[in-house]
């Protein structure tokens, strides 16, 4: 028995996409006489992929749409064959690529349980043993003898999920199952994940949900344009993934244009955030920016806001709220605005927005979204918006402190 549940070595996958599909006899006949037929395009879906997943590991795969992660998952499941390289799997593997594989709307709920179960490798007898559990978990006792086509989509998903979680696999491949279902169903999914983790199952998990990656994965892998970008701790991968969608301001001038506007009577320059990466022990963050008056202005107001990856504005303030009046600025006057704030942030990537307005509340001189960014690395991530330093103590019984 090896330590590795899955080993992928140097895998390439090409899909050959004929320009005109040669799926008719006519095409074959014509291509017999023509030397070249239209030409085929080779799509490189995966390029030199090598990694391994240890037994009992929860391994996340993230990447943009079309990056090749679903192809990779299908390769692990043995649905697709690699063009080059090899995939070794040690243990019984159950792909969870879609719930309710093989469900037939013309059959009853009961018959579908047996059919779906068979596809997951259960004999009739084994399903019969688990049948009551499945039905109870799905909360569909009254509907089992009705045809599936009369089920709501939520009922179908519940039934499929209840069968699927009975699959006794060593290795599970999960592909964005969580994208479906309502809040209570998602909670059930997460509970199931916790159970899997507790039972030391090997799980390969493809998702776009970075919160799930951070919460469940032991390691994660980022794929971009058919190649592995990196394999690292989940929090780092999640940040890198986020970066894909928020290109940094360096050299992205045209991005700036879109998110920056105003009458330009005042212009911001020299924005800095220190430190640009914060760790748990760093308590202060300093945002500093110069503002130059291009034209004379009266009662300017300087403001800032901080936005997290999900687009929520976490906090912000301005000089008016802080009751700092600046009666006027002459053309060419330069001020330096500095904000100091406590590090109460959660592990995430944040962007800083700046605003120079006039106190009439209508005139905008310089409105600059995503003027700067900073990253917070906090191993004690919480699934909430902010994460201030908290002193937690438990007394009364013996408590083991497992912090280093």
């Amino acid at each position: 028995m090896s330590e590795e549940a899955i080993k992928v070595s140097g895998v390439y996958k090409d899909f050959i996409l004929p320009h005109e599909k040669k799926d008719s006899v006519k095409r074959i006949f014509t291509s017999l006489f023509k030397q070249k037929d239209g030409g085929a395009e080779v799509q490189h879906a995966l390029h030199d992929i090598s990694f391994s997943v240890k037994k009992g590991e929860f391994f996340g795969i993230v990447g943009r749409n079309g990056s090749g992660k679903s192809t990779l998952l299908k390769m692990l499941a043995g649905i697709y064959q690699p063009t080059k390289g090899r995939v070794d799997v040690d243990g019984k593997l159950v792909p969870f690529i879609e719930l309710g594989v093989g469900f037939n709307p013309e059959l009853t709920g009961r018959e579908n349980v047996y059919l779906n179960g068979a596809l997951l490798g259960f004999s009739r007898k084994e399903i019969t043993e688990r049948y009551d559990d499945i039905v109870k978990f799905a909360e569909l006792e009254r509907f089992m003898d009705q045809k599936l086509k009369n089920y709501s989509s939520g009922m179908q998903v519940r039934l499929a999920f209840s069968v699927a979680i009975k699959a006794e696999a060593d290795i599970l491949l999960v592909d964005e199952v969580l994208a479906v279902g309502d809040a209570s169903f998602q909670r059930k999914c997460f509970e199931y994940f916790r159970l899997l983790k507790k039972n030391k199952k090997t799980v390969v998990f493809v998702t776009h949900d970075m919160n799930a990656v951070r919460e469940y994965c032991d390691r994660a892998m980022l794929i971009e344009k058919s190649k592995i970008v990196s394999i690292d701790k989940p929090s780092r991968i999640a940040t890198q993934y986020t970066r894909l969608f928020n290109p940094s301001r360096n050299g992205e001038k045209k991005e700036q244009k879109k998110s920056r506007w105003g009458n330009e009577d005042i212009q911001f320059e020299n924005v800095s955030v220190t430190p640009s990466q914060l760790h748990l022990n760093e308590e202060k963050i300093v945002i500093k920016v110069d503002a130059v008056a291009v034209a004379p202005v009266e009662n300017p107001v300087f403001g800032f806001s901080i936005q997290n990856r999900d687009g929520n504005i976490v906090t912000g303030t301005n000089s008016q709220i802080k009751q700092l009046m600046i009666p006027q600025m002459k053309a060419g006057d330069r001020v330096t605005v500095t904000w100091k704030l406590d590090n109460v942030f959660n592990d995430d990537l944040y962007s800083v927005g700046l605003a120079a307005t006039l106190d009439d509340g209508a005139t905008v001189c310089d409105w600059w979204e995503e003027a700067a960014e900073f990253e917070v690395v906090n191993e004690e991530r919480v699934p909430y918006v902010i994460n201030p330093p908290v002193d937690l103590q438990v007394t009364g019984v013996k408590v083991e402190d497992q912090r280093n």
Partner: protein, 267 residues
């Protein structure tokens, strides 16, 4: 070894479930349900009987020609059901193939087994007609299971080949439809072999389906049935269609196995 057993177990579970599902869905929603398994060949029999026995008087020379005719139709229907179903079997399950890795041959095998159940039901009807017609049961009836096995293997092999070809070549279903139309008349089903020129008869008998139908008629209905042995005056000639079946089965299985790795991405 353990893995092999596991895989085999999975195939059996799947096979069983697919056959059961297929049977459940077959007459889903129809008023007479499974009775149609019996009614369809009977209705066809009545039509062909009226046309060929009553009006055209094809079978006057042969004893028990109605039973003879029914048996031929039932066997041909089995062959047609397995092969016609086989063409679209893999493509029709494309949705499943793209989501799960399972032994693909199970799909085709399930289709042929469910047709076999149909054949068994139909053969019961044939036996009832044999009783009504006072057909003398011969010892040669013991030879029937062997011939039916040959039919099973040949139909399955054709289905394997067609299903794998259809993934790449979507014209196959039309081609096969036309071929089957022709083959129906090129097989001694509605006419007795004695009604056509001897040379033509010799040629037709080289087809495994003709050989199988005639051998079963010989075994079950009457020893007056010309078989490939009697047509050529040499029992060894039977090895030709049997050889065709064996070579065909090996070739089709090899081709299917080779192609099946790529079904998921080519459908």
């Amino acid at each position: 070894m353990k893995n092999l057993k596991q895989r085999y177990r999975y195939s059996v579970i799947l096979l069983r479930e697919l056959v059961v599902t297929d049977f459940k869905l077959r007459y889903q929603g129809s008023f007479l349900g499974y009775l149609w398994s019996l009614l369809r060949p009977l209705a066809l029999f009545v039509i062909l009987y009226l046309v060929f026995v009553r009006f055209l008087r094809f079978g006057d020379a042969l004893p028990h020609f109605p039973v003879y005719l029914l048996l031929g139709i039932v066997l041909w229907n089995y062959f047609a059901e397995v092969t016609n179903g086989g063409v679209g079997a893999i493509v029709g399950k494309g949705d499943l193939l793209r989501k799960l890795n399972f032994p693909k041959y199970v799909i085709v095998l399930a289709g042929s087994l469910s047709a076999m159940i149909n054949l068994a039901i139909n053969l019961v009807v044939v036996f009832v007609f044999m009783l009504i017609n006072n057909v003398d049961f011969q010892w040669s009836i013991l030879y029937a299971p062997l011939v039916i096995t040959e039919l099973f293997v040949f139909s399955l092999a054709v289905a394997f080949l067609l299903s794998a070809l259809f993934v790449k070549l979507r014209d196959i279903n039309y081609i096969w439809e036309v071929l089957m139309q022709g083959a129906f008349y090129a097989t001694p089903i509605i006419y007795p072999l004695t009604a056509i020129p001897e040379k033509a008869g010799k040629l037709l008998m080289l087809s495994p389906v003709s050989q199988i139908i005639q051998d079963l008629r010989y075994a079950l209905v009457t020893h007056e049935t010309p078989t490939i042995g009697s047509v050529y005056g040499n029992q060894w000639m039977r090895l030709v269609p049997i050889g065709v079946v064996i070579i065909f089965a090996i070739g089709a299985a090899y081709y299917f196995k080779k192609r099946s790795r790529f079904f998921a991405e080519e459908i």
